[in-house]
């Protein structure tokens, strides 16, 4: 399977500050990929590099095998819903569809019109008067109407209320299933993505902490709880991602190739949200230790 986004040592610096550094990853095609990470992890920078809105400072990035925004053909293959879902406040909904039709040779007018009907948007209404959810839907319609092979959505639901969030994602999933388009969507909240993505990438401080199909990740991770004991006595083949201890009890989130058979532990399944949080916490802990060492030096 080919990669929709492939980066090698990718970095972007704003003056002295690295927004993304040494990022190497490969996102496979045919998935709905959730790109998760805390604020400031570099998600938006990565997606802006993927759409050619930014030029990299170091490293390379290929999107669908081509250089981002290299020409009209490349632009036509990638749909992008930027953060905050910008639309032209002074233009009407119908104007936005006309814009899409004029600027995209592969424009699917029927699809766009059907979506606007379904969403019950008044074509004559100015985009500036739409609610947050409606303008996000309008922007998504523009991104879908060009019939891209890859759809990139940057925090598409961050500014929406819970109901609009659910409607937006549900609608997105239906359309994606119809159009068979690869999707990469970012969020700092895994709970938003849990229901929709089948592939997860956790990005913290520009680093990919874990990546893989959601079901495989869930099968490979376990939540262990039992009496407090020395971590050194754990069975072989377990990688502790996070551990929390009370006076008597320990709770561990571990990664293992097979089932955990130690009778001392109560083993339970782990949810995607806990899994992602454990990796974020692990990365944060490492960062903290590193900073601590630097201070000592």
């Amino acid at each position: 399977m080919t990669a929709v986004i492939e980066t090698e040592g990718l970095g972007k610096r704003y003056r002295k500050l690295w927004a993304l550094a040494d990022c190497t990853l490969s996102i496979p095609a045919g998935h709905v990929v959730g790109l998760v990470g805390p604020n400031g992890a570099g998600k938006t920078t990565l997606l802006s590099l993927a759409t050619g809105m930014l030029a990299p400072t170091t490293g390379t990035i290929r999107v669908l095998g081509g250089r981002p925004a290299a020409g009209p053909a490349q632009l036509a293959r990638v749909g992008y819903l930027a953060q905050e879902a910008p639309v032209y406040a002074g233009l009407s909904v119908a104007d936005h569809l006309r814009l899409g039709a004029h600027l995209n040779p592969g424009w699917d007018a029927a699809l766009a019109r059907r979506r606007i009907d379904q969403l019950d948007l008044d074509p004559g209404r100015r985009a500036g008067k739409l609610s947050g959810g409606q303008s996000a839907q309008l922007a998504l319609t523009l991104a879908l109407g060009k019939r891209p092979e890859l759809l990139i959505l940057d925090e598409p639901v961050a500014s929406l209320d819970p109901l609009a969030r659910r409607e937006f994602l549900q609608d997105l999933m239906e359309t994606v299933a119809e159009q068979q388009v690869s999707v990469v969507l970012s969020s700092h909240l895994i709970s938003d993505l849990e229901r929709v993505c089948d592939y997860v990438i956790v990005l913290v401080d520009s680093r990919v902490r874990v990546a893989g199909p959601a079901d495989e990740l869930l099968a490979a991770h376990h939540l262990l709880s039992g009496p407090r004991r020395d971590m050194a006595t754990l069975p072989d083949g377990l990688e502790v991602i996070s551990a929390s201890h009370t006076d008597r009890q320990s709770t561990l989130l571990v990664r293992s190739g097979g089932p955990v058979l130690d009778p001392a532990w109560a083993v339970s399944e782990v949810g995607l949200e806990d899994l992602v949080l454990a990796y974020m916490k692990q990365a944060a802990g490492r960062g903290h230790r590193q900073r601590h060492l630097e201070v000592q030096k």
Binding site: A55, A69, P72, N104, L142, K146
Partner: protein, 361 residues
Amino acid sequence: MTWLTWRQFRAQAITAVAALAAFAILLAVTGRHIASLYAASGITGCHGGTCAGLASQFLSDLSSGRTFPLLPDGANAYVILYFLSVLVILVAPAIIGIFWGAPLIARELETGTCRLAWNQSITRARWLTVKLTLIGVAAMAVTEALSLLQAWWAAPIGKAVGLGGSASIMSEGRFGPFVFATHGITPLGYAAFGFALGVTAGLLIRRAIPAMAVTLAIFAAVQAATPLWVRPHLIPPSQTIATTEAAQANVFPTGGSTMVVTATRVAGQPGAWITSSGAVNAAGQPVTAPAACESALPHALGGSGSPECDNCLASHGIRVAVSYQPVSRYWPLQLTETGLFLALALALAGFCFWQLGRHRS
């Protein structure tokens, strides 16, 4: 892309057309009266020496003609209209730079809509090409239309001034700093430059309002500097040395032991534009005029030299060196100045393409 450009530009275009129409109506109504006054003045068909007198009479009739009820005494409608219309052409490129140029990219960056526009199946370079071309052409067309309307309106005044008519504050020649910059083809160059300047400021500053302010400041500075330091040197000026009498030189005492001498005409070159002049000695080297002739001046504040003063200066070997542009260089100067500003506009546009491709949003 043409459609989107038009859709986003529609409101400004309508405003511009409305302003142009108002300007045209105002000038058409008053212009007919000027034309009839001119026809009645007898200038058409005048011979030799009578022309200047008739022209002066026409200009003073115009200046002392009707007044508007609300205007103060002595304020004449035509004088006001003349300067107002010149002012409109003078500021039009700045207005275009501020309201069409500066927000063109800055507004897209500010609102984030650039991320929408630049992710359609069209490259940023093409997006910018279409925007700059269509709106740039509109900017030039509007400014030139204003200029042509004013030129038609002021044509009788220009003819009267050309025939030697004076006695009117409107009698500025074709080389006058305001007349030159608002007639002929120079408005095309200024419009293109103002627009490109606004676009560039918007792209670099990334905020529309500060970009508008910077556009205005730079454009005003360029507009003020051009007649002072650029225009006289676009073509190397011709040089001549004449007696103060022939040059009808003005002589001003400076209060010390010297006097300043400036030429007001070039013998045999009617209508020439004097770019600089000053006293020289018999060897042609620049000197300061001796204050010895001050007593020969008709009055203490100086002014057009009296025969006594001219004789006095001549007896000291003082003559006037004049740098000037003959009237035949009007169109070569127009072409050069317009070309200069068009080239500046193109350079700014090229910079925008480079910056947009390099920096990205």
